[in-house]
Amino acid sequence: MRLAFLGGIYSNYHALAAALDDITRRNVDATYFLGDLGAFGPHPDRVPELLIVRGIPGIQGNYEESLSTRADDCHCGYTDPRDNHYAQISYDYTFANTRDAYKDWMATLPREIRFTAGGLRFLLVHGSPRTINEFLWRSTSPDVFLEKLCNDYDADVIVCTHTGLHWHKSLSEGRHVLNAGVLGRPANDGRANVWYTLVDVNERIVDVTFVPVHYDHALLANEMRAENLPEQFVETILTGWWTTCLEILPSKERTAGRW
């Protein structure tokens, strides 16, 4: 069985369309989105439109929780004022440009999805099984911690997003935790492409493939400028390096980036 997971989309509907086309070519059995449909990019209504038209199921991220409850910030979970400054710009723009019908639709999304595939119990969450905005970074998620999450939440495979960086860890007793990465912005590696995740699962064997998605990022950058989104956001789309919301990065991930 082949599954596709779409991490945070952050209004990058061009990347979403490219990813969905790619998924169509790859004989995928089921596709799920993992929340944070808005933020960062332009025209936030276009992502829900695409997902609803294509009939793709998924879960709430902190953005959907905040937008659907008409909260005044994204509850991203940042602790540094610089991160929160840019997060607020993203959220205010997204809130103002998301129609009420979509905010109400977001309220209907579940917080998690569970199913069994290939004999394994899958648990799809946005941040972590215990908190919607918990950051599961590779360098701060030891195996024993992840195994405890699998134990506590009755899962063999946990799939999450929220951090923006994809990774996969094989754990004891054939269990796995994987962060599906995001379609919304590049992976802070100096490359403009974004990522989604394929999982082949058969007879309790899991094979994870992170798929690079190339899309018209220059067009996205032009649209962001036309919407007066911060030039720092545009720079990230064009260069592949994060320029904002990076104080939250653990030292390992921070050192790997440009800024």
């Binding site: 509850h75 979970g77 602790t79 540094d80 004022p81 215990r130 908190t131 905005n133 918990e134 970074w137 590779r138 360098s139 701060t140 998620s141 030891p142 024993v144 911690f145 195994e147 405890k148 999450l149 134990n151 506590d152 939440y153 104080e247 653990p250 030292s251 390992k252 991930e253 921070r254 050192t255 800024w259």
Partner: protein
Amino acid sequence: MPSHLDPVPVPVPAPAPAPGVGASEATAFPPAPGAGAGAGTGTGNKRHPHVQLRALDTLWFQVAGTICNIECTHCFISCSPRNHSHEMMSLADVQRSLDDARGLGVREYYFTGGEPFMNRDMLAILEATLKQGPATVLTNGMLLRPDVCRRLRELFDASEYSLDIRVSLDGFDAESHDAIRGKGVWDRVMIGLRNLADAGVNPVITVTTAAEGVASEEGRARFLDVIRGFGFDRPRLKVLSLFRIGAEENRTRAYEEWERLNAESLSDEEASVLQCSSCRMVTSKGVYVCPILIEEPEARMGATLGETLRPFQLRYGACHTCWVDGVTCRT
């Protein structure tokens, strides 16, 4: 260094309780006195709320005890060269708790003192820790010799987990810093920071609110410029709360009677956002609820981690600071 913790403007929403920890331990331990509608045991006649341990995410080590090469006027545990209230911990001491921590699914490790780099085992302790999870060291920055910094960089590169070095400053310049930390300390720290920069280690600079105006937007911006001036082009800054205990009682004032949490204004569930819902502190004398209260005998919860998974009553002035400031250990 004397550890202080970061004020965050808004506490994050309370997460759902993790199954396993609360549930299983609730049966292992009797309900704490004062829980729910019961009478409190704390100060005056207030009923203080209890905080459950949701999960042991964060494990602290008082790795240098209360022994420090300087004597800061704001230190909440009054560390000094002569304070042996808590002693240094050896690699073997730390390793025992690291072994326990694996079974509990601990996520991250913090080392403080006193001054951690006065501990001869410190680099070996970090090497052992980084085999099983991310580590952060809180230092006054005075003992960061070139060879120590190079070794820290090697340890950082060799581990799949993050290693953070936090260096404490208490002012924008030598005069304000040394007024709290002692004459000549600023200059020693500048050498240590240069050695870190040369080794390619980007520290988190921590600064207490004793530094005039640092908590404001302008103050932060100014401090970030100061850090850039040290040679770090990606300045990392964390502003820390002060606790009115230890030496700080004399520098400013002690907690007043009203500065306590009570169960009418803070429910047990709301208390679950506090750091003590996910941390414990190991010292040479046992395991304490958190890094702040190690001089409170009743904050010692047991000899081993396994004995400390029960709820804790928030009866101290420092608990009030943690709640009001939204203190978090994280960078």
